[in-house]
């Protein structure tokens, strides 16, 4: 039985009918066809599906969509400015060479974004903590850390 649900998605109010057993990730990818958020495992272990909910980085694959009622959700699609300008964290990932295959990157960027919004000049330890739930097989994480640091003015 589908239920109506209202939440804010990338600064715009949205109202949809959702099956209560759907996850937020399912709604984003399959219902709204916003495929920027990735599914890497489906059980909360890889972080590829990370979105920001009310300021917190969350694995959307484990998040029941009904929990989103009244909340504000930001996905990777919500970071770029309307004029096409990349968010500073996106630009840093590009400029620092932090992107290889790129599959983990939207989730990685959302985890970093949640940190930087909260703490504009994070320590190395805080950077690592923010992305410890985001797996990457290509980069060895070095340039990802560099990218996050560069936004925080650390380099």
């Amino acid at each position: 039985m589908k239920k109506e649900i209202t939440f804010t998605l990338n600064n715009e109010k949205i109202n949809i009918e959702a099956d209560p057993k759907w996850t937020l990730l399912y709604v984003l990818r399959e219902v709204l066809e916003m495929t920027g958020t990735k599914e890497g495992c489906g059980y909360g272990e890889c972080g590829a599906c990370t979105v920001i909910i009310d300021g917190q980085a969350v694995n959307s694959c484990l998040y029941p969509v009904m929990e989103a009622e009244g909340r504000s959700i930001v996905t990777i699609e919500g970071l770029m400015a309307k004029n096409g300008e990349l968010d500073p964290i996106q630009k840093a990932f590009v400029d620092e060479g932090a992107v290889q295959c790129g599959f983990c990157i939207p989730g990685m960027i959302m985890s970093a974004k949640a940190l930087l919004d909260r703490k504009p000049k994070p320590t190395d330890e805080e950077i690592k903590e923010s992305i410890e739930g985001n797996l990457c097989r290509c980069t060895g994480y070095v340039k990802i850390i560099d990218a996050i640091k560069s936004v925080g003015g650390g380099r």
Partner: protein, 761 residues
């Protein structure tokens, strides 16, 4: 190399903005009109007869459009290196990843539900899970049509006289080393979408690393299916990680093709994470018996290796990894006498395949661990024995590899200096340093008859450049490297270049992303094409400017006279002149580069690669005697890369490879227990996280390879090759125990420490 504007620069990846904004389309993201979703049913047992297979309930589920079993595979079609693998098995299953049925439905959920409704009755058979058991006389045969579980592949290399050398050696070290299954863990799982047009031509969207070879494989399959004289188009969506996992075609691709053929709809098969662990092919486990000797001065006299590889139940290209293992076995350091044999053995385990390094890491683990043991026996510092025997430019190795550029000695010294080896080695105080080196093909590898790559460049009348290349972008950055090379040759900006690299209908032929070959081969191919198109441009410009071609140059898309800068013409105008003139012409150039390397002869001799890549990794570790935990305090990865076309991307290859190597050395292991995978998820399979990265330095050593584009050699694979032995050697230096079985877990270190204590008493 002076005055280069694009080559050698830290230029961001061209595809990074798409990926960082979530706009890149991976196979997971692809949806075609009317597309159906496939799901595969795997065997419940590692070895069993299928007594009954009833798909009626699945077929009756609303939304299901097709259910296929082995009976639906036309003409006994089999795929793989030895054509021993049917995409859907019937009669008998040989591993728990055996595909026995597949469903296509209108949603993924219905497809998932439908496979659960398929009823299978099995008669379980005893399995063989140990290659040594499988080799024994009288062992049950996995494939009844064969005479032995040992594959009929002749992996043997002999040079000189090992027996005589043994007698003459002052010191000999001998031991056994074993390695485990590890899996690629691509963050984007495997998948494809297959679709037929009305004339039965196939379009397949795939993650493949080998578009041209896959196209051929699928074409062969269509022929067997009774579809003669058809076309196959392979389109690569953005690829979510490769590392060798997509160097072959797989059952799921043939299943998608068969489902699409049956339903006349596009069919998508994308693996779940559990499936990715279960049904993709890992790095092969090895059992290596090695013996190496040296004379009284530490000069190596011989190397003898016998290796057994667990092939699993079917044969992929992975069964040819012993040919690449031969590279370090014959040619890492100067060794005059060599004897090597390898056997790939069928078992009821998962079948193995290619993984970054292609056998080299397994071989190098044994060679470099054993070399340290030899140094200890000979009373020589491990650095010294490597210096004494290091490869050099101009050398011809026992396999007839002609060594051109070689920065091995420089790599060793980088490690020695940056690790402070002198002060840190030999303390045995819980902290220790270790090193290991590598050789790998660095100028492609002639595995197939051709090792070539084609490039087409066309320039349009806005002055924009399209580079159409056979090579594939799998995240490694080839697209950007190729654009840098073309920009440098032509004198146009990076943003003026568009690289097209993902469609066999458009792109020229290429062998694939393997053997660390793309920068070298596709780079050289693009370089040649750029020179050809430049000559065409200059010819037209010369006519228009009234200057000789030799007097002209191009920068930032403007052609000018070197004598008089006022005499200039923009590239776009040259193009319009070419197009708008009566009897006009296009500006298109093509170039096929096939490096002058050699296939092996029957004795496995031949200059496999035009150039060879070298490197040395050095590690400082701290070993906790209470817990057995190994902590990396410092990690130096020095690589001879010829020339770094893009140091930023190159460092990314070294860091990424290095951490995969750390995972291989210290924690990663697929646990296949009597044919069942016990840790097929990210919770139980310990792939390194950001918490596992050591302090690491990537050191780029440039040796300027004459045959490489702007001096470059390959660097895709080397980053993980020497990691495990470097760490094992450091652990030995720290606490005096040698771990000979990967991964080096705390349990193994503790057990070894206890055994050592016991010996003292």
């Amino acid at each position: 190399m002076e005055g280069l504007k694009y080559v050698g620069k830290r230029i961001p990846k061209k595809d990074a903005p798409l990926k960082a904004t979530g706009q890149a389309v991976y196979i997971q993201d692809l949806k075609l009109p009317g597309m159906l979703y496939g799901k595969i049913l795997y065997s419940k047992y590692p070895h069993a007869k299928i007594l009954r297979l009833d798909v009626s309930k699945a077929a009756a589920l609303p939304g299901v459009r097709a259910v296929l079993t082995g009976a639906d595979v036309p003409n006994n079609f089999k795929f793989g290196f030895l054509k021993d693998n049917p995409p859907l098995k019937s009669g008998k299953v040989l591993s728990t990843r055996d595909e026995i049925a597949a469903v296509a439905a209108i949603t993924q959920e219905i497809a998932d539900e439908a496979v659960d409704l398929i009823e299978v009755e099995y008669e379980e058979l005893p399995g063989i899970f140990d290659p040594i058991e499988a080799m024994k006389e009288g062992a049950a045969l996995l494939h009844e049509e064969t005479k032995s579980n040992v594959l009929k592949l002749p992996w043997k290399f002999v040079n000189g006289d090992v027996e005589a050398a043994k007698k003459e050696s002052a010191f000999i070290a001998e031991d056994s080393y074993t390695t485990q299954w590890v899996t690629h863990c691509c963050l984007g799982t495997s998948g494809c979408v297959a679709s037929f047009d009305v004339s039965n031509n196939l379009t397949i969207y795939s993650n493949t690393q080998i578009p041209s070879l896959a196209q051929n494989d699928f074409l062969e399959a269509l022929k067997v299916f009774g579809l003669k004289n058809k076309r196959v188009r392979v389109i690569q969506n953005t690829i979510g990680g490769g590392f060798g996992s997509k160097l072959d075609t797989y059952a799921y691709e043939y299943i998608a093709i068969l489902l699409a053929l049956r339903t006349r709809k596009p069919v998508k098969v994308v693996f779940s994470r559990e499936e990715e662990f279960l049904a993709t092919s890992p790095r092969q486990p090895t059992i290596t018996r090695i013996s190496q000797g040296c004379d009284g001065n530490g000069k190596l006299t011989f190397r003898e290796i016998e290796m057994v590889l667990d092939n699993g139940a079917y044969t992929s290209w992975g069964a040819t990894t012993p040919s690449v293992m031969m590279v370090p076995i014959s040619s890492l350091y100067k060794v005059p006498n060599i004897k090597y044999t390898a056997k790939c053995v069928y078992t009821n385990n998962t079948y193995s395949q290619a993984f970054r390094g292609y056998g080299n890491p397994q071989a190098t683990f044994a060679i470099e661990s054993c070399l340290d043991e030899l140094a200890i026996k000979a009373g020589i510092d491990p650095v010294e024995i490597r210096r004494i025997n290091a490869n050099e430019p101009g050398e011809v190795t026992p396999q007839n590899f002609r060594i051109t550029s070689c920065g091995l000695k420089d790599c060793i010294e980088e490690v020695v200096n940056r690790l402070d080896w002198k002060n840190k080695h030999g303390k045995r105080n819980g902290r220790g340093v270790g090193m290991a080196s590598l050789i790998h093909v660095g100028g492609a590898a002639r595995v197939y008859k051709s090792d070539g790559c084609g490039t087409i460049i066309k320039v349009d009348d806005n002055g924009k450049v399209d580079v159409i290349t056979g090579s594939s972008e799998i995240g490694q950055g080839s697209e950007t490297i190729i654009a840098q090379i073309v920009a440098e040759v032509l004198g146009v900006g990076m943003d003026d270049i568009n690289v097209i690299n993902n469609d066999t209908d458009v792109c020229p032929w290429d062998v694939g992303v393997h053997a660390s070959r793309t920068t070298f081969v596709a780079g050289n191919s693009a370089l040649g094409a750029a020179e050809k198109i430049k000559a065409q441009i200059m010819e037209i410009a010369a006519k228009n400017l009234g200057e000789p071609v030799e007097a002209l140059d191009m920068q930032d898309g403007v052609i000018f006279s070197k004598n008089d800068r006022e005499k200039n013409i923009p590239l776009a105008k040259v193009l319009r002149k070419a197009h708008y003139t009566l009897g006009g012409r296009m500006l298109v150039a093509e170039n096929f580069y096939d490096p002058p390397n050699e296939n092996f002869d029957q004795t496995f001799r031949g200059n496999l690669s035009v150039a060879y890549a070298y490197g040395t990794h050095g590690v400082e570790v701290e070993v906790d005697r209470e817990t057995g935990q190994v902590k990396i305090l410092n990690y130096i990865a020095a690589h001879d890369v010829g020339k770094a076309i893009n140091p930023m991307l190159l460092e990314g290859q070294i860091y990424g490879g290095g951490l995969q190597g750390v995972g291989y050395a210290l924690g990663e292991r697929m646990i296949w227990d009597r044919g069942y995978l016990k840790n097929g998820n990210f919770l139980d399979y310990k792939m390194p996280t950001v918490r596992d990265i050591p302090p690491v330095q990537a050191v780029i050593v440039e040796s300027d390879e004459q045959a490489g584009p702007f001096g470059a050699k390959g660097i895709g694979e080397p980053g993980l090759v020497p990691t495990a032995p470097a760490i094992a050697n450091a652990v030995y230096d720290a606490v005096g125990v040698r771990i000979k079985d990967l991964p080096i877990t705390p349990e193994k270190v503790l057990r070894a420490l206890k055994e050592k204590e016991g010996q003292k008493v």
